[in-house]
Amino acid sequence: MVDRLGAAFPEAVLAQEQFHDMRCFTVRKESLHDILRFLRDELDFNFLTTLCGMHYPATEGQEDLLGLVIHLHSFRNRHRIRLKANTPLKDPAFPTFTDLWPATNWMEREAFDFYGLTFTGHPNLKRILNMEDFPAFPMRKDYPLEDPTREDKNDSMFGR
């Protein structure tokens, strides 16, 4: 499987790791759609389990990154893989995957709602869980969980 994916997209697979029982591929954002189509049609990954956003805050030598994590599942081969693709915060656009799996419709809306990832070609890209005029993308790391102006409560000892 790994060989076939590598052979089909020699340029696109940036890294691969093994976390516990699951193989994880980091791929180039531009080819993510093609890779997913290839995995679905050629390698029998018929089921998209999850799609969710990520935020990697800026560190030294690296700008703010948004990520997309997709779990695929092949029922026939009883195999799961994880795909990751990153994009700079300034350019949060991915192509939509609703043409491959309609299930991603709400997942993409959730990723948009939480992280501000946009999906080009999505039929109805608007917020799903938060209210529509919500001013921020709350799952980004720089969005505070609690009201930062509050003075009556100091829980810096707890959580991060």
């Binding site: 999850t50 029922f75 009883r78 799996w101 299930a103 869980l129 969980l145």
Partner: protein, 412 residues
Amino acid sequence: MSTGIAKPDFWQHDLVPAAEHKELNVLNLGPTHPATHGIFQNVLTMDGEYIQSAEQTIGYIHRAFEKIAERRPFYQITTLTDRMNYCSAPINNMGWHMTVEKLLHIETPKRVDYLRIIAMELARIADHIVCNAVIGVDTGALTGFTFIFQDREFIYEIFEEICGARLTTNMGRIGGFERNFNDIAWRKTKHFLDYFPKKLKEFENLLMRNRIFMDRCINCGPFPLDRALAYGFTGPNLRACGLDYDVRVMDPYCSYEDFDFKIPIGQNGDVYDRFMVRQKEMWESLKIIRQAVEKCEKMSDKTTFTADVPEWVLPPKEEVYNEMEALIYHFKIVMGESDVPVGEVYHCVEGANGELGFYLVSDGGRTPARVHFRRPCFVYYQAFPEMVKGIMLSDAILSMSSMNVIAGELDA
């Protein structure tokens, strides 16, 4: 969210010309409608009794669990999982514990696995009781609901003995349980195994071959298998479409491979098949619980209820007061200072309504860097408009309750 009520996108157009003496209505079903069994809204465009299109608005009880989870030590996230699918909270709890155990490479003893299975399968029965009884209610058969709810109550009594809580159980800890099952819990579990099959049979007699029920349910809201897979159906809804996908068998966790049970499947994916799959699953769950109780009784070990991980399992109070080691561990656990490796895991369990997945990313800090919950009904409820297109409103309500959409899980 707000515009859904005030002006749906199709408020102005889609009207059939007046010459045909026909006009489409827009009907707001929900957010708080008794038939939705939860807080979510459906904006239906109706042609008389028939549904032309549906648009859902969800998020009314969104509580930002994934965000809160990024700020809490691992053991405190269990309480968040309770509040997702609150009809079968122990499954969510155990799923989360097992995810963290996978990250920490903790091996649980067999007895812990079997105790967990007893709790999870009881929860599955409780969840299926709710769903199937409500299908009965939506077809107009209230008797079954009032009849079988006592047994859900009884399951909650067992939970109460195991962990002290009933609905949002917060059952178990990372590594096992907080305490051993007591005698009353065992006695009640065995009593449940004794009397419940008869009760369940009676419940089936009320509905299963009931002419009215069958007429309402058979061929109501059918969903083809290929569309179900594309929409990410899992659990009883997928199995009703005819595919035997069950996480307990495909990716055995928690020693499910030691048990002998079948995966019931349906054929058409209609309401009746979903009802029947759940009904059969209850029988299988009873079988599993019976086997688990037997296995526990055969074991010479009657006292193990946690894995041997002092960094994660709270020591007994007497030791905390008298021994240095125990005090340190107690403090570290309560403050959430136990070491966690860097890594990421995806673990899934067969929740009562589908594959419940936990994607956990740890950067070595005291709290997770990211937690994503794969909530089964969030994924499959989006197929609702396709399922109800062209069918009657009363059938749509039936389809909705047979999908077992739990608002808490939908909105996280």
